[in-house]
């Protein structure tokens, strides 16, 4: 685990500093909401490349479920590793249920048949990306890849922001996602999209700082 700013504060040696565990429990809902908004803001420009469709709704629903599960597990004081692993498992299960319900065991457990489908899905999506003309209409292969990517992004950012408390690093990842359409389809800069993205990133960083301040206030009051 990287040395987060939380552990740095603890090394400062002040008795009143909250531990990272205490930090992880403070302002988690606010942070998760800010993170959701940031993810949405980062993938909005993507709609210039991949046309909006059912995949967007499915992807957002799974992200919300994953972040919600993260909040619930942190409320139950589960260890940070358990939270992230549970989110990975839940995300995988929901993606399976959404796209591979007919081959999966009990709807959510990928079966050998499901696994066998994957190479075709990946090659189909790659084929569509390489040969298609933007905006692509998301067929099943591209939908699976896009939703899976969004869910993986959400889990990674959840770990980066809420567990490791490094929103700036998360902002870098978000910026990379946000830049994908600009890199693939050169056009003039979409200022409105940038403003939305900037606001979301600032909100995310502020939410993290605020949760830290509140944790300090609480530990000082205790």
């Amino acid at each position: 685990m990287p040395p987060s700013e939380g552990s740095r504060a603890r090394r400062g040696g002040t008795a009143g500093m909250p531990t990272r565990a205490a930090l992880a429990r403070s302002g988690d809902v606010r942070l998760a909401v800010a993170l959701l908004l940031a993810v949405v803001a980062a993938i909005l420009p993507l709609l210039r490349v991949v046309a909006a469709g059912p995949w967007l709704a499915v992807g957002l629903a799974i992200v919300i479920a994953v972040l919600g599960a993260g909040i619930a597990l942190r409320r139950l004081r589960a260890p940070a590793v358990v939270v992230t692993l549970a989110e990975v498992v839940l995300g995988g299960a929901l993606v399976t249920a959404a796209f591979f319900g007919d081959t999966a065991l009990l709807l959510v457990i990928p079966s050998p048949g499901t696994i066998a489908e994957l190479p075709a899905i990946v090659s189909g999506a790659a084929d569509q990306i390489v040969t298609g003309v933007a905006p692509l209409v998301a067929e099943r292969p591209l939908s699976v890849v896009a939703v899976a990517a969004v869910v993986i992004l959400a889990v990674l950012l959840d770990h980066t922001v809420i567990t490791a408390r490094m929103p700036l690093l998360a902002a870098v990842a978000l910026a990379a996602v946000w830049l994908i359409p600009a890199l693939s389809v050169p056009s003039t800069v979409d200022v409105l999209a940038f403003i939305v993205f900037a606001a979301a990133v600032l909100l995310l960083i502020r939410a993290e700082t605020r949760s830290r301040e509140r944790a300090l206030v609480r530990s000082a009051a205790a």
């Binding site: 700013e5 400062g12 700036l168 890199l183 993290e208 206030v217």
Partner: protein
């Protein structure tokens, strides 16, 4: 990054110093680096969006920095100490009053009070809430570890901006001095020479030419107690005579602290609290004074040249002992060596107990001190860093000598010294 392995102290100090100067937090530093990298990459790869991202990061840091420099305003700081004076090894409570006004966030500020070497404590904490910042009243405990006058401060408030990218250290007020006196260690009583009885006998008899049994009768006056009537004198004078009040005389003791420069390490002459041997000597001197004053002696503390090192301590006056320890809080080594001339200070008188606290006593020094034994009721020599031969020589001359060990048990040395005479007499 010093993540887990503890870096060497020098590197850690450098890091701390760098952190106190560098206005950005780790996050802020990262934002500036990433922002600059984004601008460079925008040029290199021709992606105009990266310019926007880079500017966002740089402006974020700039905004944070501006918010700290134009919105916060800080006032004055005052400290009070309870107790005012801390002895080495004792604690004192520091109360800091400070005022500040913050603008934007300022909801949480960290404060630290710089403690000088020789004072330990956790002088850090958090100030929470804008209202609390307006009128801060903070307390923390310090523990004095080295003698001297130590400057506490300046008081530093560290605030960070709402995004946690920049920090600013406000130094408020100046420093305030706290006096750290030498430790006074409770020494075992002098079983052989209690000042109120035997001690006074020894000195007062010689000095006044009369003992407590020498009574001067005077005529009976109304109000005198019948029990004070001296029948023998009454018969002799053919009128009622009463015993005159006994002449109260307080015996005197002398504690000599040898400050001469050549007996102590060079550091003892520059600053109080640096040379462990000299610290042990000062502690021994003031502890001996406290013991002797308790035993009923008027105690004066002098240097080997006879000059006074502090106000004399009347018998039983513990406040005067505290005053003396204040006087000795700043004493440092220095001056010529007069140890051999010490017996001359007592020539022609008979003093009470004489305690000499010194160091690096040679056999020659011990021989030079020998004549003093005849003039003192209780000559005690506490010597640091001295060879056993010198102590043996002093002991043979009649001194009750003991080695003074820094960080050793002073009470033990004192007991050794005061009992060595007894055993020697028994042998």
């Amino acid at each position: 990054m010093p993540a887990s392995a503890a870096p060497p102290a020098r590197i850690r100090r450098l890091l701390t110093a760098a952190r106190s100067v560098w206005p950005l937090t780790l996050r802020g530093t990262g934002a500036v680096v990433l922002g600059a990298a984004a601008l460079v990459a925008a040029q290199a790869f021709g992606v105009p969006e990266l310019v926007y991202v880079g500017m966002l990061l740089l402006l974020l840091v700039l905004f944070g920095w501006v918010s700290l420099w134009f919105v916060h305003r800080y006032g004055d700081v005052s400290r009070s100490f309870a107790p005012d004076v801390a002895a080495v090894g004792h604690e004192s409570t520091v109360t800091v009053h400070a005022t500040a006004r913050t603008g934007l966030s300022g909801a949480v500020a960290r404060w630290t009070d710089r403690l000088p070497p020789g004072v330990e404590g956790d002088a850090t904490g958090l100030v929470v809430g804008t209202a609390a910042l307006e009128r801060m009243r903070l307390t923390y405990r310090i523990r004095a570890t080295r003698r001297g006058v130590r400057e506490i401060g300046p008081f530093v408030v560290i605030v960070t901006d709402p995004f946690g990218v920049t920090r600013r250290r406000h130094r408020l007020g100046g420093t305030e001095a706290v006096t750290i006196t030498p430790a006074v260690i409770a020494l075992p009583p002098l079983t052989e020479f209690p000042g109120e009885a035997g001690g006074s006998l020894h000195t007062a008899t010689h000095q006044l030419g009369e003992g407590t049994d020498n009574l001067i009768p005077r005529s009976y006056a109304p109000g005198d107690s019948m029990r004070r009537i001296n029948w023998r004198a009454s018969a002799h004078h053919d009128e009622l005579m009463v015993r005159q009040e006994e002449q109260e005389s307080t015996p005197e003791a002398t504690v000599i602290l040898d400050r001469s420069a050549r007996r102590w390490a060079a550091s003892a002459a520059t600053e109080p609290g640096t040379d462990p041997a000299f610290e042990a000597a000062v502690t021994a001197a003031v502890s001996a004074v406290a013991r002797l004053a308790r035993e009923g002696y008027d105690v004066s503390v002098i240097d080997t040249d006879g000059s006074s090192l502090g106000a004399p301590v009347p018998a039983g006056d513990s406040l005067a002992v505290e005053q003396l320890s204040l006087d000795l809080a700043t004493v440092v080594a220095g001056g010529e060596d007069h140890l051999a001339a010490v017996p001359k200070l007592f020539a022609g008188t008979v003093a009470g107990p004489v305690v000499v606290v010194t160091a690096r006593v040679s056999v020659a020094d011990a021989s030079a001190l020998a004549p003093l034994v005849a003039h003192s009721a209780l000559p005690i020599l506490l010597a640091a860093e001295s060879p056993d031969a010198a102590l043996t020589r002093a002991g043979a001359a009649g001194w009750r000598a003991a080695a003074l060990v820094p960080d050793g048990d002073l009470a033990d040395a004192w007991r050794t010294a005061s009992e060595r005479g007894t055993t020697r007499a028994a042998v």
